[in-house]
Symmetry: C2
Subunit: 319 residues, 2 copies
């Protein structure tokens, strides 16, 4: 499925670069590489999964359109993938989602349906629209076609690491529902057996790290209060978690200050824009070296959709 | 020479991505692509020229080391290229150069020799050191090996544009001494005859634009007062200018406000960090559409070594 997804993504998704800087190597005490998925279309890896899902549908199904629930990167990835397939997309977003993300999702061609988190049932809205229009639901992570799309990141990492002469490394991946982590883990299992995926999360929202340690799915105590909004989910996915249990190493949780420092260092040393949720793996690579083995580490910087004010604040504090 | 340089750069310089955003396309009224050389090693295209020059020297010459005059990106490019060749480099920098650039040049492995712009003669210092130690001078642009290195950017543009289905386009290039512009023009002459290089400069420092219009080399009235310090030179080069006369279209001059807007848009829409001098071509693509022909334009974003404060200020004003 991953190889098939890659073939469908060919010429549509970007092969993002693997970046590095001698300054970061010195800081971390090992070679540090960043897989810059913030440079992917729509500013995050989510375009891969969106494209994989859209292109994997039967044409007569796809043509009726797709629907997704998302307040962020998945919304934009599905919207652009649908528009480029010439089919309609409906994205159901909370009315208090960041204005910019609503605007972007519309600009990528989606019909945005807003709902009130307090009084309306988004699943009921989604079910009604799906039935009326024959739309196909694209889940953000518990969906094999989506996981296969995110997994193409892993195929590229394996090739690019080989070009750099790296045969063993921890591959640190920002983890929300686990679509990207589990996809990369599957891709590396087949192509680069010396590599181990390690899910990375913000402290206090480390459901996957704790679930892996507990050997069963445990939930986050809260869903609010993290700057890493893009990767905060209630708990690991039903499809993604068993994959991570089988293939991933232990998770790593980082602080908000480490995230902001990593964003400032990515600005200064790699010249890329990384959002908080996209910077947790780089933060782990730079500031949790004791938890990492080997003389090279690969961190996925998974998205760059950050508000200007927050980014400027990170630069002011740590730039 | 360009093909040979490319072969020497293989596996050492990065093949930087060609980025785009539907938002920028809509703003410009045509497809806009950014060749992201800010993601090159040392944060600018100058590493290509530095590597080309170092790797092109005879081993017995190279082993004695190299010397360069620079307060910025050329310094860093030569320093890292020398260090990775295992040979010494001496970079002569004005003592009032930005502290960060001095520190970076040292960190990339160079011996930095500071001189006082008011009282000391840098050429005399350079000549003395070269003679004492047998160092080879690496000029920033009027040097065929350096031009051939920068030209590899053009080979990549030709390939990447073909993948995007573009056969004719203006290729906008930030222009100081003209090493990058003339190199890309030579590369495209051979590989993509439908493409025209257009040098881009800040208003008031548009010596190349005016020289092309006048049919002879004319100088800038002043060397100070531009935020685009990386591309301010007294006049076009003696080797580069005749190449541009033969191959380039007319130049485009942009305002400082347009440069800062382009930096903010590159942050928001492309997720890359671009320095002022590196943003002039993108500014021309976005804000000088009337001067551009065709339905696609390629802008080289040539460097990303920008001070945190200046970048944050650009975001505050235009983000």
């Amino acid at each position: 499925m991953i190889v098939a997804a890659r073939s469908r993504l060919q010429g549509h998704a970007r092969r993002t670069p693997l970046l590095s800087s001698p300054f970061l190597d010195e800081m971390a005490g090992r070679r540090v590489f960043a897989k810059a998925e913030c440079l992917q279309h729509t500013g995050s890896f989510k375009f891969r999964g969106g494209w994989s899902a859209l292109s994997g549908l039967a044409p007569e199904v796809r043509t009726r359109g797709v629907i997704a629930f998302s307040s962020g990167n998945h919304a934009q990835g599905v919207a652009l993938a649908a528009t480029r397939h010439g089919v309609p997309s409906v994205i159901i977003m909370p009315s208090d989602a960041p204005k910019l993300k609503i605007e972007n999702t519309r600009a990528f061609g989606a019909e945005v349906v807003l709902y009130d988190r307090g009084t309306e049932d988004r699943d009921a809205i989604g079910a009604r629209l799906s039935e009326e229009r024959g739309l196909t639901l694209i889940r953000p992570f518990d969906e094999p076609l989506v996981i296969a799309g995110q997994a193409t990141t892993g195929l590229e990492i394996a090739e690019q690491a080989e070009e750099e002469g790296i045969t063993t490394a921890d591959v640190l991946v920002p983890c929300g529902g686990g679509g990207l982590s589990s996809g990369i883990a599957l891709a590396l299992e087949a192509t680069a057996p010396g590599f181990t995926v390690r899910p990375c999360e913000p402290e206090g929202f480390d459901d996957t790290t704790r679930s892996l340690a507990a050997g069963k799915i445990v939930r986050n105590a809260t869903m609010t209060g993290s700057i890493c909004d893009a990767i905060v989910t209630p708990e690991p996915g039903r499809i993604t978690f068993p994959i991570l249990q089988r293939l991933a190493g232990s998770g790593i949780a980082v602080t908000e200050e480490e995230v902001l420092r990593a964003m400032a260092l990515a600005f200064k040393r790699l010249k890329i824009v990384v959002e908080p949720g996209g910077a947790v793996a780089l933060a782990a690579a730079l500031f949790h070296g004791a938890a990492i083995e080997g003389d090279a580490v690969i961190a996925v910087t998974s998205g760059g959709n950050v508000d200007t004010d927050l980014f400027a604040a990170a630069l002011r504090r740590f730039g």
